[in-house]
Symmetry: C2
Subunit: 484 residues, 2 copies
């Protein structure tokens, strides 16, 4: 918790990205630090963004056959250990509940770090026949992973909010379609709701979700040149189904093993959103997700206050009627400049200024948050006009991010060139790669950059014929980047 603090952002996005991000999150009232290291409190302005992300994604999930459910937050240790059948060297960093009231428990309970080990046995129990498939379950919940790192709200916290989908299918085709459906929905969320251009790919074999056949990923680029793994969708093959015995009777009453998937998106997506769009004035949000889309600031003198405020209130009512999330800031105890700064800090995408001139001319002055562009518009049809401007703000955010991303995908064909390019520019570097994990080591060691993805299409020809590290035949294109 914080004491009195300066208004306004004091850190620089360019020069001290980490400190700047932390300051934006706190001063825009998105989150606060909890008393225990690694935990945060998500405040209303932050939680409202998460709720809108949920609404979009949850609607798409439901349209495509997913049912929500809720499984216990605790997983018995013996259940967690069954994953050892699937995952060599599985070693969960979890929070352990050892006591209930004054009594020690007979078996320790893990606070769920992810729910495969509790959900999969139930799916196994519920699936009997091919008619029960596909079975698609999702839950919105919080999970805890006891990783000791510095707290970074939404990016690195021991407890985080997410959704986890778990599905079972008759065969590989069904499960693979599912994996792609969810990856495409995540991409749609980033592209159409978060104004964030996204790259789709799969993780290299050595960096898959433990036990998965294929881990597919959405990667987005941050302004500091690092990549964020923004969502993942796993085709698990039959490994979990075999370990947990998800079998079904097919049309001929023969026992078959199901193919399963899992897929998840966490509030890290919110962190990436905040970091990408915001600036040295504070939070910048796309209108799609902003709790308040429009703020109207009346500017009056004593002798015209009544008519100015009435005119502003009338416009606010019309926007509200049109379904736009509008706030009329008619506070007496703050001047317009203070209000401008406050709503810029809090990320309201569009400001409408109303002074005596606007009243006289039957107009409104609209100012775009991302770049301060302003235009004078007719008061008539203000609902439609504002919708257009909100679309324009969205397009500006997207275009700016897209331009950055396009300039930040480079090629290299040697170890030195990878190191030099990422060292100088950040961003992504594409190379040929033999597929051997060992070839990642020298880059990891020197620069903490790694192969964040390879193309989804396993048959795609690599960008170069040779592996940039070892010079052997390249099998795929590797995308190298530093990452969060």
């Amino acid at each position: 918790m914080s004491g009195e603090q300066e208004l306004g952002i004091t850190e620089s996005k360019e020069h001290s990205t980490g400190e700047w991000y932390a300051e934006v999150v706190q001063k825009a009232e998105l989150a606060d630090y909890a008393p225990m290291g690694g935990f945060i409190v998500t405040r209303p302005r932050g939680y409202a963004i998460w709720e809108r992300i949920q609404d979009h994604l949850d609607g798409w999930f439901k349209e495509t056959g997913v049912d929500n459910a809720y499984f216990p937050m605790f997983i018995p240790e013996s259940y967690l250990e069954r994953e050892k059948d699937v995952v060599e060297g599985f070693d969960p960093e979890v929070a352990w509940v050892t006591h209930g009231g004054y009594d020690e428990l007979e078996e320790r309970l893990a606070v769920r770090p992810t729910s495969e080990s509790i959900i999969t046995p139930f799916i196994a129990d519920w699936v009997r026949s091919h008619r029960d498939l596909p079975m698609r379950l999702n839950q919105w919940c919080s999970v805890v992973r006891w990783e000791a790192t510095e707290t970074k709200p939404f990016f690195r916290t021991k407890e985080f909010l997410w959704q986890e989908g778990h599905t079972a299918h008759r065969d590989e085709d069904g499960a693979w379609d599912e994996t792609m459906t969810r990856l495409d929905q995540y991409e749609r969320l980033y592209e159409d709701v978060m104004a964030m251009p996204a790259l789709k790919g799969r993780k290299p074999e050595h960096d898959k979700f433990p036990g998965a056949h294929t881990t597919t990923t959405i990667e987005t680029l941050m302004p500091d040149g690092k990549s964020v793994q923004a969502a993942t969708s796993h085709y698990l093959g039959t490994s979990f189904a075999e370990a947990f015995d998800i079998t079904y009777a097919d049309e001929d009453e023969e026992d078959q093993t199901a193919h399963t998937t899992s897929w998840g998106l966490s509030w890290r997506s919110m962190g990436a959103l905040i970091m990408l769009h915001s600036d040295d004035q504070g939070l910048v949000l796309p209108p799609t997700l902003a709790p308040t889309q429009v703020v109207i600031v009346p500017i009056w003198q004593e002798d015209n206050k009544e008519e100015v405020v009435e005119y502003a209130a009338d416009a606010a009512a019309e926007l509200d009627e049109a379904g736009i999330r509008v706030n009329l800031d008619d506070r007496d105890n703050r001047n317009p400049g203070f209000k401008y700064n406050e709503w810029e800090l809090k990320g309201v995408p569009l400001r409408i200024e109303v002074g005596p001139n606007e009243v006289d001319d039957d107009e409104l002055t609209l100012v775009h948050r991302p770049d301060g562009e302003n235009s004078v518009e007719d008061r008539a049809d203000i609902g439609d006009t504002v919708e257009d401007h909100l679309d324009t703000v969205y397009a500006k955010l997207y275009a700016s991010a897209e331009e950055t991303l396009e300039g930040e995908i480079r090629e290299a064909d040697s170890r030195e060139e990878i190191l030099g390019t990422i060292g100088q520019h950040g961003g992504y570097v594409k190379t040929g790669w033999c597929g051997d994990e060992d070839c990642e080591e020298p880059i990891k060691d020197a620069l903490a950059a790694e192969i964040v993805m390879v193309p989804l299409d396993r048959d795609e020809d690599p960008v170069h014929d040779d592996c940039a590290i070892c010079g052997e035949d390249a099998r795929v294109t590797a995308y190298w980047a530093k990452s969060y």
Copy 2:
């Protein structure tokens, strides 16, 4: 988890209410038992009901100034102990996290049993001036209470889902209005969404939420004659604000102590819903909450299958278009009788039967789930017709529950009469009461019945002049009942 099981309910609601309830919950696929005693898995058909309850309540909360937020699921032991300042003898039965990964924690963390002790300090930090008030926060989350009792899905589980609202106000009036606003919204949920007539009252002083000034309650009557505390709304006075230092500068820059409230509704509401309306054929749901509102069952012979199914599908499409949650059950491998039983078991409020006669006459046969009443309706305007029937089904459920409740509020004016009346009939017994906790003891000891509420209005004259137990002057009317 269960093995193969008989279709259909085998227990009797009247004669073995507990077993019948457990059977309905499992066979209607609302919930399953988790491997750890006291925990359940909420399956899609159950979770969908909870989501609809959430949608209604959350919408009303937001319309009346409440912001959602999310606080950590863990509370440090020292924070929990601060409640001792408010609550004499506070002794939480909680789940304790003692280890993170392989390391013992320096301070134990409680899995939240309720969040006053973590939310209130943040409200204290965020509130500076009278302009910050009222502050109204709510979170939807799960909480854990380590009470060792037999598991009863939605009624008695160690982990349960709920919402908890926490608000701060300038003065008693503001906080009391808030307390009543939420109580009224809970009543509206029961009356208008759950088809459950509800009683509003307050808890006797000795049964208040610890630290509260007044605990108000919604009570609903179950078919076995027991009362369910269906939601509570607490006016906390200044006790929590004093303990956690929620002060604010008023208009004159004077420091004042805030008045706070908290209020919550859990998935117990779902348990009460299921228990009240369901019957020996299985689940009965009001159309407002049913995941599937209408099932259409086509009844065909080989020679007319195509036209019957097409006619049914066409009606289904029209209902879907009208925003009705409809399912066309055209499975080949099940006969109509099987389908009727299955959808009755699963609580679909309205069944539409379509055979060759319906096709010939351009009609549809509609059957109400609660009582089997059927009527033949024109195919034209089926959307409006079905809406009317769904309203009728709702009204039937409500009327039946209301009739039961009205007959189950009796009066008594002696200890023997209380014991005799509750012992014979269950339900509520109204008596005069002196207000002394000691007078509750003999009834509690003999019958496990207690004073579940007294009237909200503190000035209301008691139903009798004398306390039914001790004969002293009665101060209020007491409502006695057995309770869940």
